[in-house]
């Protein structure tokens, strides 16, 4: 199982902060595409160029591989400080 988190504006747009994906195997970008196929109305929000990805609480590139037990997160550009 892979835990997937959404934050800030993206969390509000998708109307969820967390989902679980069973039996996923592939890259972060493949995971994103799988989500968009499962929830087609997410595509316009989730496939934006400015959406950042994290794997196990570290920023990660789209081609990073996801393994069972991993924590994945999608979020807009950060605006802290």
């Amino acid at each position: 199982m892979v835990k997937v988190l959404f934050f800030a504006r993206l969390r509000q747009q998708l109307d969820t902060g967390e989902i679980a994906l069973a039996d996923f195997c592939g890259s972060l970008s493949a995971l994103r595409e799988a989500l968009c196929e499962q929830y087609p109305h997410w595509r316009v929000y989730l496939q934006r160029d400015d959406i950042r990805m994290a794997l196990n609480q570290e920023l990660a590139e789209p081609d990073t591989l996801v393994n069972a037990g991993d924590e994945v997160a999608f979020f807009p550009p950060v605006t802290g400080g």
Partner: protein
């Protein structure tokens, strides 16, 4: 002495006097540079009447630790503190405190600015502003990231 960094995400008001006092005590460190960011009453032309900060618990702390570690690898530093508030806050409330001590003034200034520049571009915090419109009603909006913050960060790679 082993360097211990203070990295904290808090929901309660930030106390700059307490944070400054906690940085003291390294008697070889003659220089202390501090930065405090507060809630402004305007942003992008609108009247801001309040702010809420969301973050990614777990990743936030890892991110701030990584930034601190990389600052330590670039400059000779004594104590480092990063305290960031989350949750709802008011105009003039402090959002972030960064404090760095060093034997050298230039190192303290550079590290403090470097930490702020990286925090602004990679630490997982998001601001949502409450905006007062002409009729006095409040609406909310997510703050947009600014290109200038990414540009500030780029200068550290170019150097």
């Amino acid at each position: 002495m082993k360097a211990v960094d203070r990295i904290e995400v808090c929901e309660t008001p930030l106390n700059v006097a307490v944070e400054y006092a906690a940085l003291q005590g390294n008697s070889g460190d003659g220089a202390c540079a501090l930065f405090v960011g507060s809630v402004r009453d305007f942003n992008a032309g609108s009247d801001v009447c309040g702010l809420a900060l969301e973050h990614y618990p777990g990743m936030t702390e890892k991110s701030l630790q990584r930034i601190t570690g990389e600052a330590r690898s670039r400059w000779s530093l004594g104590r480092v503190a990063i305290v960031h508030r989350v949750g709802p806050m008011q105009i003039n409330d402090e959002i972030v405190f960064v404090g760095v001590t060093s034997p050298h003034r230039q190192a303290a200034f550079a590290a403090c600015q470097y930490i702020m520049d990286r925090l602004k571009t990679e630490a997982p915090f998001w601001k949502r502003e409450a905006i007062a419109d002409q009729t006095g009603n409040a609406t909310e909006r997510w703050v947009e990231a600014r290109a200038s913050d990414a540009e500030e960060m780029d200068k550290w790679s170019a150097g």
